[in-house]
């Protein structure tokens, strides 16, 4: 699986970057982090936040250029390593997993993370070597030197020319490689009305499932109203962005990222694997042998991957393929087990206990309901039972996202409130308004629920 490594003709900002937490030849954890977070982390590790702003900017350009150079040239991957860059300052630049980030550095990186240094006439991002400049010297940027140059009034570009030569450019607005909607290039603000705002409203409503402080937007129409502004401000407060109530580039990408985290977690828990159904220890089958129980291991690995950035997600295909083995080995490394890539008894029980610990902490709101097939019963006023409960759960969620559908409190009893919600739903989606849930209405409720819950937003326009 590729993470969007660009070809040789175009530089793109990767969605994420894999960092080896040690020297290239030393065994160490490989962790995958969003590119933006990587740059913030390196900048917070390499330089002081109290330096003049223009010095910080010059250093951030150099840091970004080195990272993009490593990705673009496939420096490590072409040597057979399965990472993009290391955290060892003898080889690359400093990175401290999970460290704190300085707010002013963070804001600067949000602004210029898609810019890098390039020699005029070239495509490749410059390997913008740097060193501290007092104890060690190098043919490149001197970190302390930028502080002096900033005090002399040089701009970041002038500083970079001073160190790397006059024939450089700063390439800005580099495309972001992502399989999702990229920032539209303009800030979204109160009074605006467009499809991007609709998208953000739906994302924020989904995130609000897990974050009670975020105001739900009852009417996601694509209009940036006061409720939207309140939700954006709350989001910014929680995720430590400048609280402006406006969706700028940094806010856009953070909303997108948290939305992905929320939906992928919800998606995992809806895959229908109930812990009690998972068999006890099962020996590892041979490679390429499809065994249903391998699917349980793959499911476990996916749950773990949502929590451990060293464990990659895998396809649930029942085959003990290379990627699954790699994920098993990363799991074994983290839990100090013999690194075999095989699921022996000890690995199985450790994995089982780790996943059980995760499921124990999940609140009901974070869990998405599976798509349940129509149980063959027609539900109407007076019906009771689990089927009614599911209808109410589905409709409650739909009501929280779409305007006009009244909520139905999930109690398992098909009362007037539930009937009203069903009628409104049927009217909304052009179904015969009967107030009765038959096979067709059941199917529509489940479909709409899943579209809204898992963000298949391509259908949103068509739904209304």
């Amino acid at each position: 699986m590729s993470i969007g490594i660009p070809g040789l003709t175009e530089v793109v900002i990767p969605d994420s970057i894999t960092v080896h937490l040690g020297a290239p030849d030393q065994p160490a954890e490989n962790i995958t982090v969003p590119f933006l977070d990587y740059i913030k982390n390196v900048a917070s590790s390499e330089i002081y936040p109290t330096w003049p702003e223009s010095a910080l900017r010059a250093n951030i350009y150099a840091i970004t250029s080195i990272a993009l150079n490593r990705v673009f040239t496939e420096w490590y991957r072409s040597q057979g390593y399965n990472f993009d860059i290391t955290s060892d300052t003898r080889f690359d630049q400093a990175f401290v997993n999970n460290r704190g980030i300085f707010d002013n550095v963070s804001a600067l990186v949000d602004e210029i993370f898609d810019s890098y240094i390039v020699r005029q006439g070239q495509i490749e991002p410059l390997y913008a070597q740097f060193c501290d400049g007092r104890v060690s010297q190098c043919p490149g940027l001197l970190q302390w030197g930028t502080v002096e140059l900033a005090k002399e009034g040089l701009t970041p570009y002038e500083m970079l020319q001073y160190y790397y030569g006059a024939n450089i450019n700063i390439q800005t607005d580099t495309p972001v490689a992502a399989a999702f909607e990229t920032y539209p290039g303009i800030n979204l603000k109160p009074g605006d009305n467009n499809i991007y705002i609709l998208l953000m409203q739906i994302y924020l409503n989904t995130i609000a499932n897990n974050y009670p402080a975020i105001t739900r937007i009852p009417n996601p129409t694509g209009t940036f109203d006061e409720t939207t502004q309140a939700a954006v401000s709350q989001f910014q407060r929680i995720f430590n962005l400048p609280v402006t109530g406006i969706i700028d580039k940094a806010t856009w990408y953070r909303i997108r990222r948290i939305y992905v985290a929320v939906t992928s977690l919800a998606g995992l828990t809806s895959q229908g694997v109930v812990l009690s159904e998972i068999p006890q220890y099962t020996p590892t089958p041979g490679p390429e042998e499809v065994v249903p129980r391998v699917q349980a291991v793959q499911y476990f690995l996916n749950v773990l991957s949502a929590y451990y950035n060293g464990i990659p997600s895998v396809d649930i295909n029942g085959v003990l393929d290379t990627r699954t083995r790699t994920a098993i080995m990363e799991f074994q490394r983290i839990f100090n087990l013999p690194i075999t890539g095989l699921v022996d008894e000890q690995t199985w029980y450790t994995m089982y206990d780790a996943v059980s610990g995760i499921l124990r902490t999940l609140p009901p709101s974070a869990i998405a309901l599976p798509a349940i097939l129509w149980p063959g019963i027609t539900y109407q006023l007076g019906s009771e039972g689990p089927g009614v409960y599911f209808i109410q759960q589905y409709l409650s969620y739909i009501a929280s996202v779409l305007e006009g559908i009244p909520p139905a409190a999930p109690d398992g009893i098909y009362g007037p409130e539930t009937e009203r919600a069903v009628r409104t739903f049927q009217e909304y989606f052009g179904i015969d308004v009967t107030g009765v849930v038959d096979r067709y209405t059941w199917g529509r409720i489940v479909l709409i629920y899943r579209n809204l819950r898992f963000g298949n937003t391509g259908n949103i326009g068509g739904l209304q």
Binding site: F91, D103, S106, W144, F335, T361
Partner: protein, 190 residues
């Protein structure tokens, strides 16, 4: 095996031996409890006025922002205990701040003293910081320890803690102690 490819890959000139004293030794002059007066307030002989901030410690403040999440930010961790400590030479910690996260995993912004120590060779009167320890504990999660986190004057340092649920049973979890190492530019801050 490539060792020193100055042209492209290996930044050998950045490989210099760090000061081999421990972080605590290097920072020993700053290790005092906040209940005590900082060294600044020890009686000083009446001497002629000196250039400011050359020998005198300087007291400033910086902020620490802590948010507690799990699953890469998919969920907040409410009711987590967030504690900030100073630490003395022996490694003993003194608690100075304690907060509990709300339903959104948030605690109020924490303001902490930042003291310039003229006797610390790593610091200059212009660029200095103070280190603290941070601990985050929540039921059913592994505890996270951050050692030697840095607070700079008039700057907010943000920790977005990503907690990992504890495994059930006797399984030993991953190490969740993060030591903030010296920065490559520290040694030359004079």
């Amino acid at each position: 095996m490539i060792l020193f490819d100055v042209k492209k890959g290996v930044n050998i000139l950045r490989y210099y031996p760090f000061d081999d004293r421990t972080y605590k030794q290097r920072n020993k002059n700053k290790m005092f409890t906040l209940n005590q007066a900082p060294p600044a307030e020890t009686p000083q002989p009446p001497v002629p006025p000196q250039p400011p901030a050359v020998t005198q410690p300087k007291l400033d403040t910086g902020n620490l922002s802590v948010s507690v999440f799990t699953a890469s930010g998919a969920l907040p961790v409410p009711d987590a205990l967030v504690t900030v400590y100073t630490h003395d030479e022996s490694g003993a910690e003194n608690e100075i701040e304690r907060h509990v996260t709300d339903a959104n995993g948030q605690v109020p912004l924490i303001t902490l003293p930042v003291i310039y120590d003229p006797f610390n060779p790593l610091e200059s009167s212009e660029y200095f910081f103070t280190t603290y320890n941070l601990r985050v504990q929540a039921i059913n999660y592994y505890t996270v320890n951050i050692i030697d986190l840095r607070i700079f004057p008039n700057t907010t340092t943000s920790y977005q803690i990503d907690m990992i649920p504890a495994a059930i049973g006797p399984v030993k979890g991953p190490d969740t102690t993060i030591v903030i190492p010296p920065s490559p530019v520290d040694i030359s801050n004079d």
